[in-house]
């Protein structure tokens, strides 16, 4: 275990070699780029054009009027009566994402996409190729984005010695800003920020810091490692924050996939049993597709139901054998789903698979029925890949096919290709 005394207590004096790119209000800006008549107008992007669907992205014009991401359409209309809402269009965002990745790869092989609209370029080791100052490269990236996507596209660029400070730098002057944070101006930058401006510090962490007498970012920076470790975060998270704030890298890791799943808020206030089963069947199919897309098979199923009254029920079970096919996911999910309490109307259902292992599809089984299932799944996948997803599907899923739409993933982009095939 790492000792507190081993932590690096001085500011990182290294030259910044990380460049963080963040597309400004990505979905809304892409929509405005695509449709010139929407430019300069308050625009919201939502997953479903209904009154209670929430805004997943708002244009800067809408944000200026008080519209925030997460508001329902009804709430947003109170702030901006002329707000225009459009539905998400994943292939468009995927196109811009691919262009962004292409631009980033042209500078360094070591890039990390943090989500659809932001990524980090690590310039370490590329000094011979990129011998210009990073701010100059940052301005060039901004221009290339405009040239390759369109003149309405803007992005923020942050340059710093570690990922956390690079992201912070990219959030300082929105939209279309470029900032650099290093050991020479770190204290000056932190002095102008509130604790919640730091990525990773929201209400609860702020309350923890406040309870230890830390109210400003500079106090956070000057706090001793022991205090952060033992009193504020009560874990190694305190050590990480101690180093992160000083410009040392602690966030350069990739997390493995632990669960694969889908959830859906029902589009019917008083759903019948048949109606719910069709949605569940569809969710199971898409979950199994995700599993196979990642070349995984699962052993466990977790299912939950949220009721109209606010009650929540879930059940999970680990099975002896692994599974990957649509039918098996649905069969096992139904086993659990049939045990749910009745009496209230369901509002939301969700399913996820866990206990993930690498797929065993390449290995022919000794059991004939397992082989038949694998071959059938493979054949159906090939037909769907040739003629479009859900060309061959469960009869039970048919009514859900046009209704349950794939939403835009905010965090990971690991299923983006799959999502775009389906859109």
């Amino acid at each position: 275990m790492r000792q507190v005394s081993e932590l690096r207590s001085q500011l990182n004096p290294a030259e910044p070699r990380l460049l963080h790119i963040d597309l400004n209000s990505c979905f809304a800006t892409v929509e405005q780029q695509a449709r010139p008549s929407l430019r300069g107008r308050p625009l919201g992007v939502t997953n479903r054009l209904t009154k209670n669907a929430c805004v997943v992205a708002a244009s800067y014009e809408a944000k200026a009027l008080g519209v925030k991401v997460g508001m329902t359409f009804g709430e947003a209309k109170l702030f901006a009566p002329d707000l225009i809402m459009v539905e998400t269009d994943p292939p468009k965002y995927h196109y811009v994402y691919q262009i962004l990745v292409g631009i980033m790869r042209s500078y360094s092989p070591k890039i990390t996409m943090k989500s659809i609209d932001e990524g980090v370029i690590d310039f370490a080791g590329t000094e011979l190729v990129n011998n210009r100052p990073l701010p100059e490269i940052g301005y060039e990236i901004k221009q290339r984005l405009k040239d390759e996507v369109g003149r309405w596209m803007t992005c923020n660029v942050g340059i710093a010695p570690n990922r956390f400070l690079a992201k912070l730098a990219a959030s300082l002057h929105k939209p279309d800003g470029l900032d650099l944070i290093d050991h020479t101006n770190l204290r000056q930058v932190l002095a102008g920020l509130q604790l919640t401006d730091l990525s990773g510090i929201a209400e609860r962490n702020q309350a923890r810091l406040n309870a230890a007498g830390i109210y400003t970012c500079l106090q956070f920076l000057d706090a001793p490692a022991e205090l952060l470790h033992h009193r504020v975060f009560r874990s190694v998270c305190g050590d990480d924050w101690y180093q992160r704030l000083r410009g040392w890298e602690v966030d350069d890791f990739e997390s493995a996939t632990k669960t694969v799943g889908r959830q859906f808020v029902l589009d019917e206030m008083r759903p019948t049993e048949e109606f719910i089963r069709s949605r569940l069947s569809y969710l199971c199919e898409t979950t199994a597709m995700k599993l196979r897309y990642k070349n995984l098979c699962a052993r466990g199923v977790h299912i939950y139901v949220r009721y109209a009254g606010g009650d929540y029920w879930y059940e999970r079970r680990m099975f002896k054998s692994t599974f990957f096919s649509n039918a098996e996911v649905y069969r096992r999910a139904t086993l659990l789903f049939n045990r749910r309490p009745r009496g209230q109307f369901e509002r939301e259902i969700g399913i996820s698979c866990y206990g993930l292992d690498p797929s065993k599809l390449n290995q022919v089984s000794l059991l004939d029925e397992v082989n038949r299932e694998a071959w059938l799944t493979e054949a159906v996948d090939q037909i769907n890949s040739q003629f479009g997803e859900f060309t061959v599907t469960f009869a039970a899923s048919l009514s859900a096919k046009g209704t349950v739409k794939q939403k835009i993933p905010f965090g990971s982009t690991r299923y983006f290709e799959l999502l775009c095939n389906r859109a």
Partner: protein, 100 residues
Amino acid sequence: MENMNIINKDVNIVAYYFHNRGRRLRCYPKRMEWGGRSIDFTEAGLRHPTKKGQRMVHVFDMSDGSADYRLEFDAEALSWTLVSIAETTYAPSFRATVTA
């Protein structure tokens, strides 16, 4: 909400092709014949490829100054489809209001 009209009809398109810095020719629709009318596009929004099964379809968001048009070009059948038209009868532009 949006004032989007779904059309999904085949249309005739006159397109320009530009050299794209040594890469493949870049196509932009210039004029559309539809419903007995000729529509001249004045601005291109975004052109992005997408797949329908194995077929590659190029989506063009175009504008003639009074409405936004979504066109699809099927790269296999070499046919153009007018997918939708969004009328732009919105309130005055926010930026225009601020500058005024």
